[in-house]
Symmetry: C2
Subunit: 138 residues, 2 copies
């Protein structure tokens, strides 16, 4: 554990984020649980490790992480903001039956002709909705 904690501290520092205990634990959790968690699920798990943890801190930390490109916000359904520690471009699939959200490997879509010139792009997001195989087979 010691060594990976060191790694997380370094990642935060490299991104320009001061590594407090809360921030390290939150980043650790995101790194090791690739479930695209919500604010609430992050809080529910970590309040066990840090009993004084406040949900406001989770909100503040995720906002800070986003500003420093450490995470990306995933908004597929209203009322369900999730976070992804993988910041490289990739797609998501959300099963409308079981609600699971999974990563999807896709080719980076190509803008058609003049559209490229009309703005400067900083982020691209792609997601699908449907029914996963597990839910289809029962």
């Amino acid at each position: 554990m010691g060594s990976s904690t060191e790694n997380f501290i370094q990642i935060l520092k490299n991104a320009g984020v001061k590594p407090s205990i809360q921030r390290i634990k939150i980043y650790d959790f995101l790194w090791n649980n690739r479930t695209h968690p919500t604010i609430d699920s992050i809080f529910q798990v970590l309040v066990n490790e840090i009993p004084t943890l406040s949900k406001t801190t989770v909100y503040n930390t995720m906002k800070l992480f986003m500003e420093h490109q450490l995470v990306r916000m995933v908004t597929i359904d209203e009322s369900e903001v999730r976070f992804d520690v993988v910041t490289q471009f990739h797609g998501h699939f959300k099963c409308e039956v079981c609600g699971k959200l999974m990563d999807v490997e896709i080719e980076n879509p190509v803008l058609v002709n003049q559209a490229k010139l009309d703005f400067e792009v900083s982020e691209a997001h792609y997601y699908l909705k449907g029914i996963c195989n597990e839910c289809n087979n029962n």
Copy 2:
């Protein structure tokens, strides 16, 4: 106006939605204002035409329209659910400075290898964030 109202009634009927006055006016508004409006902006405009209009009706109607594939929900930023009357696949660009949301023509992205087999897709969404030319040039 009479003739386009007839068209809207027909579109709703074809989709299996009973055409009440509220539903027709809301669909009319969406069709003629391609600004990806929010619930609130739809309500603010239409309450002038239908003084008794309730925001609950707008919520109910948009939910019904979604269930009947008449509109698509566009969720880019948390706390800002928008709606799009164009249901064919296309992308969106959101300017992070002025907040404008515009359509983007893109090639439909391709799933890579095995991903296709893992689920049944019903909807695909693609969006970009960045800065539009107008905001860049001032």
